[in-house]
């Protein structure tokens, strides 16, 4: 059978991971405006994947879960070399992928393939299904001769459930339903007998009843062909069913990783917890909790200091990386619910809150008017006393009124490392026994 995975004589021993990623970084330079470039100014860097480390064993399904902007897709693409990683290492079957040139990568791609999110866009509209699915065979010179290729394509189409194959061979993608297209995309991905499939949200654009069909197909193929999957998704429900292990990503970093069952049973990172709680479930006994994280994923070009999740985290505390610009969402949330007069009165006291990343631990919050420092401090103290549970205030060591501003001393920002406990590990200061949370066991309030 051609469809069995090649077990080349030089294949690594089974206990060596198929994929080994170490401190992988994929950073993108932001192209600034014309002026920035002429002045040689750096418009900034988006750390789409930042210092990510994980292993993927043969036959395993690893879920990369995160919201949009978490870097999960970039991570998958970096692994395939579709996006060039800027640092760290990613090895596939013992071969380093980072820094490999295009021709070498192209050769490697017969062993690792990709399934795309949008089945309507992933097939060349100008090619028939047979041409699309058979093209990898031509490119890699696997089979010679039209008939031989067609025969192999037909077999592959039947394998993914596009049966009888000759009804589909000469159709164009436009004539197929979404589920059928995704089957064809999967057929194209497995036609070269790869060992690794990177599946980027393979079911998220499909209808509910079709999703389970495609997932079922992927599970069958995994068992029949001995595939290993990297399953990229934002959907924790399908990941729970489908994956052996899960890595939760937030702003380019893994915040929690581990064995799927344990991770769902006891999420350690507040972000994981929030994601799990936010899934709307048809079960009427489950409801979305009230303490959802506020706001949305911040600008990746200016990520928060310390733990990137801290501005939204209901359980954040002193070492999480608080800085002056975190005050903006706190005030905005307060003002959104206020009478206009009261809001204007408060706003009249406060100057422009800097939007830039804070350096060091001290910052100055300017007053709106010269000499307004004392009034501003009084207002901040009042705001703090009205909502003492607001995590922002835990980050402030001291506030002092100066003439035209309020000087603020913050706790130093600490970047959490992964703390392992049992079969999962999370990057959260709450797990650091050396740090104590002011409201250690108190229920998060928001």
């Amino acid at each position: 059978m051609q469809t069995k995975p090649d077990t080349a004589p030089d294949a690594p021993a089974p206990d060596v991971p198929l994929v080994s990623v170490r401190n992988l970084k994929t950073w993108f330079e932001i192209r600034g405006g014309v002026l920035d470039r002429m002045l040689g100014r750096d418009a900034g860097t988006v750390k789409a994947v930042d210092d990510v480390t994980f292993d993927l064993a043969r036959g395993e399904v690893l879920g990369l879960v995160g919201e949009s902007g978490s870097g999960k897709s970039t991570l998958g693409r970096s692994l395939l070399g579709l996006v060039h990683a800027t640092g760290g290492s990613a090895s596939f079957e013992g071969q380093e992928v980072v820094g490999l040139d295009e021709p070498a990568l192209r050769k490697l791609r017969s062993r690792m393939q990709m399934v795309f999110q949008d089945p309507h866009a992933a097939l060349n509209p100008a090619m028939t299904i047979a041409q699309s699915v058979g093209h990898p065979l031509t490119i890699h010179g696997r089979l010679k001769g039209r008939d031989e290729i067609r025969a192999h394509v037909a077999k592959t189409l039947e394998r993914v459930g596009l049966s009888p194959a000759d009804t589909y061979m000469d159709k164009y993608p436009g004539d197929l339903s979404g589920g059928q297209k995704q089957r064809a995309v999967i057929a194209r991905a497995i036609v070269l007998d790869p060992v690794l499939l990177v599946a980027d949200e393979p079911v998220s654009m499909l209808d509910m009843s079709v999703r389970s069909k495609i997932l079922k197909l992927m599970i069958d193929l995994k068992d029949q062909l001995g595939l290993t999957y990297l399953y990229i998704t934002h959907d924790l429900a399908s990941a729970k069913f489908f994956c052996d292990r899960i890595a939760i990503l937030y702003l380019g970093k893994i915040v929690e990783i581990g064995e799927a069952r344990a991770l769902y049973a006891g999420p350690k990172h507040p972000y994981t917890e929030a994601l799990l709680g936010a899934i709307p479930d048809p079960d009427p006994t489950r409801t979305i909790p009230r303490n959802l994280p506020r706001g949305e994923i911040p600008d990746a070009a200016k990520p928060p200091r310390g733990c990137a999740f801290h501005p939204r985290c209901p359980r954040a505390f002193a070492p999480c990386g608080w800085e002056l610009r975190d005050l903006t969402p706190v005030l905005e949330a307060r003002w959104a619910g206020m009478e206009e007069q009261a809001h204007l009165a408060e706003r009249a006291l406060i100057g422009e809150i800097p939007a830039e990343v804070m350096e060091g631990t001290t910052a100055r919050l300017p007053a709106a008017t010269p000499g307004g420092g004392a009034d501003l401090l009084a207002m901040l103290e009042r705001i703090r006393s009205e909502d003492p549970a607001e995590p922002f205030w835990t980050g402030i060591k001291e506030m002092r009124a100066e003439a035209d501003h309020v000087a603020m001393e913050f706790h130093p920002a600490l970047t959490p490392r992964l703390y392992a406990e049992g079969t999962t590990a999370a990057a959260c200061h709450l797990l650091d026994p050396g740090l104590t949370h002011p409201r250690a066991a108190a229920a998060p309030v928001l």
């Binding site: 395939l80 579709l82 295009e102 021709p103 990568l105 192209r106 050769k107 791609r109 017969s110 393939q113 990709m114 795309f116 999110q117 949008d118 866009a121 992933a122 097939l123 060349n124 509209p125 100008a126 090619m127 028939t128 047979a130 093209h135 990898p136 490119i139 890699h140 008939d147 067609r150 025969a151 037909a154 077999k155 039947e158 009888p164 194959a165 000759d166 009804t167 061979m169 000469d170 164009y172 995309v185 194209r188 070269l192």
Partner: protein, 320 residues
């Protein structure tokens, strides 16, 4: 379906691609259909004239005598000269028929050349980007900024001294005018198609850039070409006749050309000699109209956005 469970090897359907291309033409309705067919018929007529000019035409294009008897100058239409003769004593009908051949030959040559240059440049610049793209865009935009007739004139003037064939000179002049258009359309289209999932998928299956360009991008960006080429052909006829009118086009010794004919007949109209200007002028108008209608008709047929507008109306009384 009649097939064995064991992976049959089906025979490929015949010409699925062709069938797909012509399906929208068959489905066109309403005004688009009218434009498409009127344009096709008009254009077709001129193409037939061009092909069969030697048989259709009573005389050669530069013939001014028959059996030693000179044709009269500016003679009105008669049995011998159905559309009359012009100031050079040549037969107007012969000028029209042979002229169709010149016009279409030059324009076809020019468009093929323009496509052959503009399309690959647009593909490469659009796909690879970088400095090549920037330089090409700059050059093409500069060329695009020059009025087309002026540009053609300059080229015709420059080439006229070194190339003997007036047809080639005119075609080259027109080519230069239209290269930037194809370049721009292709390049912009490629830069958007390049981001499509299926192009990334092609990279993911290990396709080298040349394969991606030819198999994945080319066929998805050329739909705009037939429409543009047809409309450009209409425009090119005007450029060519303009060149001819100014005396820089196909020389009268090398072929009949309507623009030149009109320029020589300009003085006639005032003295009541209408046939020398009317018929070449009408030929220009009809061919340009035909090509424009064909182009617009094709546009409405091929462009999916315009097609949707023509969705069929549902009459609820008819629906049980």
């Amino acid at each position: 379906m009649t097939d064995s469970p064991h992976t049959p090897v089906p025979k490929p359907q015949r010409f699925p691609a062709l069938r797909r291309i012509f399906q929208p033409v068959a489905e066109t309705r309403g005004f688009a259909r009218f434009m498409l067919w009127t344009g096709a018929v008009l254009t077709g007529l001129f193409i037939l004239m061009a092909i069969f000019a030697p048989w259709l035409s009573p005389y050669a294009f530069d013939q001014y005598q028959l059996a030693g008897v000179a044709f009269p100058q500016t003679a009105p239409p008669s049995a011998l000269h159905p559309l009359g003769t012009n100031v050079q004593s040549t037969d107007v009908l012969a000028q029209i028929l042979w002229g169709a051949r010149t016009e279409l030959l030059v324009v076809a040559l020019a468009l093929i050349l323009a496509l052959a240059i503009g399309v690959p440049l647009g593909l490469i610049a659009g796909y690879f980007g970088g400095w090549f793209d920037r330089i090409m865009v700059l050059v093409m935009d500069a060329m695009f900024a020059i009025p087309s007739l002026l540009l053609a004139l300059v080229i015709a003037f420059l080439l006229g001294s070194s190339i003997a064939s007036g047809i080639v000179v005119a075609a080259a002049a027109i080519t230069i005018v239209y290269v930037p258009q194809y370049f721009r359309v292709l390049r912009n289209h490629v830069t958007s198609v390049r981001e499509e999932s299926y192009v990334e998928a092609a990279r993911a299956i290990g396709a080298p850039p040349s394969t991606i360009l030819t198999k994945y991008i080319f066929f998805n960006v050329i739909q705009a070409i037939p429409v543009l080429a047809t409309l450009n052909a209409a425009d090119a006829i005007l450029t060519l006749t303009g060149l001819g009118f100014l005396g820089y086009g196909v020389q009268p010794t090398q072929g009949a050309e309507w623009g030149y004919d009109v320029s020589r007949a300009v003085g006639d109209a005032a003295s009541g000699i209408w046939w020398t200007t009317l018929f070449p002028g009408l030929a220009i108008v009809l061919l340009v109209t035909g090509l424009t209608l064909l182009g617009e008709g094709l546009n409405e047929t091929i462009n999916p956005v315009l097609r949707q507008r023509a969705a069929t109306r549902v009459n609820m009384e008819d629906e049980a």
